[in-house]
């Protein structure tokens, strides 16, 4: 079935509901404003337009968020500290570094787990348990702690991202590296393949679909980790800092703009991993 039409319909419905919801949510404050200005019996259409144009609305209208994003990215100098592009780049670099660390760590752990019985039994339960520690919640503490030993800036944030993103990679890669069937392993044995050949020519290619699926999850979580890690260090910049300062100053439009930029960034990153997946699949002869 063609998917464009249903998706577009839902998106338009969301926009309509959003505009409609902005009217009652911003109405109390607008009534106060109008009362101060001595305006009475404002016609509904004008009142609605007023609620969509407040400075610090409870719920900003979509076009306000869009214009804030435009003003804060394209219209501003990119090195300005008020530029969302500047903050987005800070978050993006921490995300990518953490994602790289996390994927590497996840693959190494998965290889250790499938080749060593003891590490399978001892590591796997603790890797699962490690994810019940709310690292997102303690991320600010970790950042402060690492700052005390002189690790500041990009690396602490990347470590938080790493902690979050290695988990899906481990789980997916263990499953993937174990996915070759007994009949395939037997065939490799009839070829007299050694351990390395078994790994590089059978297990590793077989694990690729699992790796890419995990990486799509992992890169999205990496971004969340980077944003949350930024909450503790307001001087470092980043989208998380924009969220926090916006929250303290009641700048709702700024919060929504940072939020949408983060969402867009996550979508683009996931799409890039998806593109890499298609490329790798093509090289491996898979027909999409």
């Amino acid at each position: 079935m063609n998917r464009t039409l249903p998706i577009l319909t839902i998106l338009i419905a969301i926009l309509v509901i959003w505009y409609a919801a902005a009217i009652p949510m911003n109405a109390p404050w607008q009534n106060i404003l109008n009362g101060r200005a001595g305006l009475e019996n404002v016609p509904f259409t004008e009142f609605a337009a007023q609620t969509w144009a407040q400075d610090k609305p409870v719920l900003p209208a979509p076009h306000q968020v869009a214009s804030e994003i435009w003003n804060a990215t394209i219209a501003l100098d990119i090195t300005s500290r008020r530029s969302l592009a500047y903050h987005g780049w800070i978050t993006l670099s921490a995300t990518l570094l953490g994602f790289g660390f996390g994927t590497a760590l996840g693959v190494v752990l998965a290889v250790a787990i499938i080749h060593n019985d003891a590490s399978d039994r001892s590591l796997m339960p603790w890797i699962i348990a490690s994810q019940t520690i709310p690292i997102l919640a303690v991320a600010p503490m970790v950042v402060v702690g690492l700052g005390a030993v002189g690790l500041t800036g990009l690396v602490p944030k990347a470590l938080i991202s790493m902690y979050l993103s290695f988990f899906p990679v481990v789980v997916g890669m263990v499953k993937g590296l174990r996915s070759p069937e007994a009949i395939q392993l037997d065939l490799m044995r009839t070829y007299d393949a050694n351990g390395w050949q078994l790994f590089w020519k059978l297990r590793w290619p077989a694990a690729m679909p699992f790796l890419f699926a995990s990486m799509k999850v992992g890169i999205a979580i990496s971004l969340i980790g980077a944003v949350v890690a930024e909450l503790s260090n307001a001087s470092g910049g980043g989208l998380g800092v924009r969220l926090l300062t916006g929250s303290y100053n009641g700048q709702t439009i700024q919060i929504w703009a940072a939020l949408f930029l983060a969402a867009g960034l996550a979508a683009v990153l996931v799409a890039i991993v998806g593109g890499a997946e298609r490329w790798a699949n093509g090289r491996m002869g898979v027909r999409a």
């Binding site: 949510m25 039994r121 709310p134 997102l136 303690v138 600010p140 926090l244 919060i255 979508a267």
Partner: protein, 367 residues
């Protein structure tokens, strides 16, 4: 030595040689830590396995002796060099023990239940011992990383505060938010399921939304619902809704068309088909979402408390604890959160075993 794999040989040699070296370095101070001296001597003696094979329980005993001796002998200041050798040696023996244990289980010499559980427990205990020894032995400032013993002491001393935080965050914010979010996701999925058009439009958007940093809406929710638990519950609702929606929609499609045809030949109504076939068939998917959401909900509530909260709650305690440098209290809070999260997950998994007992993944004895 014949019966050991190459890795096990390396570990055995490392443990024995480190113990011998430790003995050599501590000759002048043997009387200060007699237990440690005993461990060094026995560890060195274990090198005799080059001639006589040793039982695997001896390695386990050596590891325990090393850990106990180290913790008992820890000095107030920085550890002397041979203590580090003892740590290396004890770690090597513990690793060797685990390696041989799992090899024995694999060979069928030891039962899977019981001993299989022992291995992760040993790993966890070994981590705690290394943490304790390194933080105290290397004089790591408690502000950076407190040793487990002081975290445990804080845990025991501050039960009142920890309990109040637990009630505020878990009982008041997480549970209602989790229930509302999961229920709403399920109901919307059932409603959407009736319209292929809506399903086609909503599913990609739902998938997209569950990958986004929804946690970022926390400041917005605080503005809308105030500082108390309502705003945290709202964040939890938003975070748990989309995974549940996506999984339930996929689950409602799990019943095969043949099964649906059978229901039709029974003249079953839509609701009968839904209640008796499709919802039970969707069970594994729904429980998958419930499990994902159980940890997600706790994280969401704690992070949301960073954006404003009354003076109670786990997130509040963590953020103020960092500010006041009461890091052991923060770690006690983390321990509570980890235990609560694991227990929550465990309860859901148990319910899953009872409800979806028919599913292959449960029948195999693993859930």
């Amino acid at each position: 030595m014949k019966s050991l794999t190459p890795l096990q040989q390396v570990l055995a040699l490392a443990g024995g040689i480190a113990a011998l070296a430790g003995l050599a370095f501590s000759l002048t101070s043997l009387s200060e830590a007699p237990l440690l001296a005993l461990f060094f001597a026995l560890g060195g003696l274990s090198l005799l396995r080059l001639a006589v094979p040793l039982g695997l329980w001896l390695d386990g005993g050596l590891a325990v002796l090393g850990a106990v001796a180290l913790i008992a002998a820890l000095p107030g200041g920085v550890m002397p060099g041979h203590y580090w050798l003892a740590l290396v040696s004890a770690w090597a023996f513990a690793w060797l023990f685990v390696e041989r244990l799992s090899a024995a289980i694999r060979a069928g010499q030891l039962p899977e239940t019981g001993t299989g559980l022992l291995i992760p427990v040993i790993f966890g205990l070994a981590l705690l011992v290394v943490w304790e020894v390194v933080t105290r032995g290397a004089n790591v400032p408690p502000v950076l990383l407190p040793p487990p013993s002081s975290i445990g002491a804080r845990l025991a001393a501050e039960t009142n505060i920890l309990w109040a935080d637990f009630v505020q965050t878990f009982i008041k914010s997480v549970l209602p938010g989790y229930a509302i979010g999961c229920l709403a996701g399920l109901l919307v999925a059932i409603a959407v399921d009736r319209s292929p058009f809506l399903k086609a439009g909503l599913l990609p958007i739902g998938n997209f939304m569950s990958a986004l940093p929804i946690i970022g809406i926390a400041p917005i929710m605080v503005m809308w619902f105030g500082f108390d638990w309502q705003s945290k519950a709202a964040v939890v609702v938003a975070m748990t809704f989309f995974p549940m929606l996506v999984n339930s929609v996929a689950g409602l499609n799990a019943a095969s068309s043949m099964e649906r045809d059978l229901m039709e030949t029974y003249a079953a109504s839509y609701w009968q088909t839904l209640m008796k076939l499709r919802l039970p068939a969707a069970g594994p998917f729904i429980f998958n979402a419930l499990k994902i959401n159980s940890t997600l909900a706790l994280i969401g509530a704690i992070v949301a408390e960073f954006f404003g909260t009354p003076v109670v709650g786990m997130g509040f305690r963590i953020s103020t604890g960092v500010g006041r440098l009461a890091i052991d209290l923060v770690w006690a809070e983390i321990a509570v959160a980890a235990v609560a999260g694991s227990a929550f997950y465990g309860v859901i998994a148990l319910i899953e075993r009872g409800v979806t007992f028919w599913h292959p993944s449960v029948r195999g004895g693993r859930a």
